[in-house]
């Protein structure tokens, strides 16, 4: 992502303690790196290089291996997410019903592209593949709320309802 969006790492001691516990739990498990990264992302919301380094040291694998895994899977994020995470479904069922236009409307509304976070940290946009609500296509998620049978003109109003 763009340089200006890199936010300095600010982990708390509590988070670090949680991470150490996760590392200890998966240290000796075959194939434990993936679940460890998943839980680490649960703690920090993303996987900054500082966290990857702690995992590499703690689990006795090289940083490049950790980085390789973290970048391979689309669920892992190396950049922080917004306070509200918007995710537009680009699965086939949604796409044939015009979800690309929903995504464009979100991007236009927030002035950022998919994969980015607004400078104030309020919103980030992603696309996803089939959230399993194809009956409601096209579908958009804001945090855990599902909006279905969407029309592009409804997007702005929905986003506004999240800005307190």
């Amino acid at each position: 992502m763009t340089e200006k969006n890199v936010i300095p790492f600010q982990g708390t001691p509590e988070q670090e303690a949680q991470l150490k516990e996760v590392i200890a739990r998966y240290h000796d498990q075959p194939g434990g790196l993936m679940p460890a990264l998943q839980e680490a992302q649960g703690i920090y919301g993303y996987l900054p290089v500082e966290v990857q380094r702690m995992i590499a040291d703690g689990m006795n694998v090289s940083l490049s291996e950790v980085f390789g895994v973290a970048t391979f899977y689309s669920q892992f994020s190396l950049t922080p997410k917004g306070k509200h995470r918007i995710s537009v479904c680009l699965g086939t069922a949604c796409y044939v019903k015009g979800s690309d236009k929903i995504l464009e409307a979100v991007e236009a509304k927030l002035g950022i592209k998919s994969g980015e976070c607004t400078p104030d940290g309020m919103f980030s946009i992603d696309s996803c593949r089939c959230v399993g609500a194809c009956g409601l296509a096209p579908v958009m998620l804001v945090d855990d709320d599902v909006y279905g049978k969407l029309k592009p003109e409804q997007v702005a109003g929905i986003i506004d309802s999240y800005t307190e």
């Binding site: 194939g31 069922a93 796409y95 044939v96 464009e104 236009a108 399993g132 194809c134 599902v146 592009p152």
Partner: protein, 630 residues
């Protein structure tokens, strides 16, 4: 757990669940002996939860408590019923009445009028179930259900997936008992082979053969794994099975572990499926608690346990070797086969890997016999197949039909046809590895062979219906975008080939295509098919090739006339306001999602074509017909 205990649970609960499968008078009689006057089923599948079925459930419980009838009425939260586009769905037994798009307000009426006074709220029902003369039919008699045959989905929408005893009530874990006490591993493999069951994850390899290979592979330690990655965009069969009937998969994996000689299993499931993961966890815990998982299962001496691994959003991890590499904790890159996983799989040990739906058939095959199963379907494709029916179709949802059912039956009868009076154009099967079947082949019986003869494939079971408004060049660009994105990059033909193909398609949809591009596409496709390492790269050109075969004229229109006949490809069309007709009502400017329209009140408005995303919202809103699409 012993068989006596299992049977005791079954006997205690069987009638309660049975009320949900037989309707009218018999159900009426049965409901008297169960202790519940009525049962209300609320769909707890992801589709219905997205349309707020849990709020309906809460309102229902609150209302029953307020009216003091909570102990006369059994409330059950089930998995998906199949008709997701009508969610939230609520069914009342013993009548079997089917309430669609239920709301918390509506549920209060259902409690007052239907549950208390005995008068069905006809206006809230799915209207297909209400005849002109006012008579009501049950869900099982509708067009949507009549043609279906539910084997893998048998318990979905029937039982409470979070209650192991409801699964046991429907003969759950009886097949496991039969296998452990009266069959040898060879006999189990033979039954599966004789049934003719083929892998439902895509390729259709005979499941029994795979079990035998794994059983016969040398080695002390073996693994049984379940592929619940379901990366196909627009498919949700496996998720629905895990959400609606997780024990069916668990029971089958235990049976498989006995057949191949394994003590440890893994379910690799997408992290984007939180409800499925949650229910699977509950089911595993319950199975352990009931002594059906862990040490000495059903007193047989057989040990087996299952662990969940969460996929992290990489399509290629659905490929078998990549999946195993991912469980090992690495980047999920495929490896060359042979050696096949049956010989050298997880952590280098023989591993049996099957798809969720494949497993969901096993217990039934064991209980009812190979002959029963192989009598269903076509000569080479036995049994049933679950499809996730989506796109431009009235009844979006989950359907299970015998192999050999025609596409027309699925689309027109079960699916209820194409909405808004539009014409059917094509059905896409097999996801990114598949292709499009055009309208002229709508009478094709669906099985593995006939789909590949048409240049498509069964794949995992995504069935996306498209109408005249969909552009087939755009659709193939969509799939290429997907595969280019998801290529793991390990081998060049796929990594570079998908990019190149995508660039060619982009060029065509932007109106910059040249006639020789089609030859380039074909050459590239041939090369990718023959030299990619895994099936992702080998099949990535399929959507392009099949649309080229059946919709070549659309490609030519884009290339030669610089036109998109369906009006989809953005670079080839634009929106314009006819100044003379515009009354300056400002409505379009207010509705435009990207503020591409400007103008003052009572004066002609204009569209900024650079900003416009061609969503068509303005044209639908202008009451004066002042906006045109060119």
């Amino acid at each position: 757990m012993t068989i006596e205990e299992l049977n005791k649970i079954k006997a205690a609960k069987a009638d309660i669940v049975k009320v949900r499968t037989i309707i009218a008078e018999e159900g009426e009689k049965l409901s008297k002996v169960t202790g519940y006057r009525k049962q209300v089923l609320v769909c707890g599948g992801t589709g219905c939860q997205s349309s707020h079925s849990m709020e309906v459930l809460e309102a229902l419980n609150a209302e029953l408590a307020a009216k003091g009838i909570a102990d006369e009425i059994l409330v059950v939260r089930t998995g998906c019923f199949g008709l997701c586009s009508l969610g939230p769905i609520v069914i009342v037994y013993p009548e079997g009445t089917f309430y669609a798009q239920a709301t918390p307000e509506g549920i209060k009426r259902i409690v007052d009028e239907h549950l208390i006074e005995g008068k069905i709220c006809t206006d809230l029902l799915y209207q297909e179930t209400v005849h002109d003369d006012g008579s009501i039919i049950s869900l099982s008699e509708t067009n949507f259900y009549k043609k279906q045959m539910r084997i893998a989905l048998r318990n979905c929408g029937v039982i409470d997936p979070e209650d192991i005893e409801e699964y046991i009530a429907t003969d759950g874990y009886q097949a496991l008992y039969k296998v452990l006490t009266s069959m040898t591993p060879d006999e189990v493999c033979q039954v599966v082979l004789d049934s003719g069951l083929r892998g439902r994850g895509g390729a259709g390899f005979p499941t029994g053969r795979k079990w035998m290979f794994t059983k016969d592979a040398p080695g002390e330690v073996k693994y049984v794994a379940c592929n619940a990655d379901e990366g196909d965009p627009g498919a949700f069969m496996d998720r629905s099975i895990l959400e609606g009937d997780p024990h069916a998969v668990i029971e089958a994996m235990i049976i498989a572990s006995y057949a191949v000689g394994s003590h440890q299993g893994y379910v690799y499931v997408r992290a984007e499926y939180p409800v499925a993961v949650h229910r699977l966890r509950i089911a595993l815990d319950q199975a352990r608690k009931y002594g059906l998982l862990g040490k000495n299962i059903l007193g047989s001496g057989h040990d087996f346990d299952i662990e969940i691994r969460l996929g992290a959003g990489a399509f290629v991890c659905g490929e078998e070797t990549a999946l195993l590499t991912s469980i090992e904790g690495h980047r999920g890159e495929p490896r060359p086969r042979p050696p096949f996983p049956a010989v050298k799989g997880l952590f280098g040990k023989p591993t049996l890997l099957n798809n969720v739906e494949t497993y969901a058939n096993i217990a039934q095959i064991i209980r009812n016999g190979a002959e029963w199963y192989s009598a269903i379907g076509t000569e080479k494709s036995k049994g049933t197949k679950v499809f996730a029916l989506g796109g431009k179709i009235t009844n979006v949802g989950l359907v299970e039909v015998p192999m050999g059912t025609t596409l027309r039956e699925i689309i027109e009868e079960i699916g209820g046809g194409i909405p808004d009076g539009k014409a059917f154009k094509a059905a896409q099967t097999g996801g990114p590895s598949g292709g499009c079947i055009p309208a002229e082949h709508i009478d094709t019986p669906i099985d593995y062979e006939s789909l590949s003869a048409l240049g498509s494939m069964m794949g995992s079971g995504g069935l996306i219906v498209m109408d005249e408004d969909n552009c087939m060049v755009d659709v193939s660009k969509f799939y290429l975008n997907f595969t280019a994105d998801e290529s793991c990059g390990k081998c060049t033909p796929c990594r570079v080939g998908t990019r190149k193909l995508l660039q060619l398609l982009e060029k065509i949809t932007e109106g910059k295509g040249e006639p020789e591009d089609l030859k380039k596409i074909r050459d590239l496709a041939t090369h990718m098919k023959s030299s990619s390492l895994c099936a992702l790269g080998q099949s990535a050109p399929n959507p392009v090739l099949s649309t080229l075969q059946y919709f070549g004229d659309e490609y030519l229109a884009h290339i030669n006339e610089k036109k998109c006949p369906s009006g989809v490809c953005k670079s080839l069309l634009h929106y314009e306001i006819i100044a003379d007709k515009c009354k300056g009502c400002t409505l379009c400017a207010r509705k435009c999602p990207v503020s591409a329209i400007t103008g003052t009140v009572k004066e002609a408005h204009v569209i900024d074509t650079d900003k416009c995303i061609k969503c068509g919202v303005c044209i639908g809103n202008c009451k004066f017909g002042a906006i045109v699409r060119k």
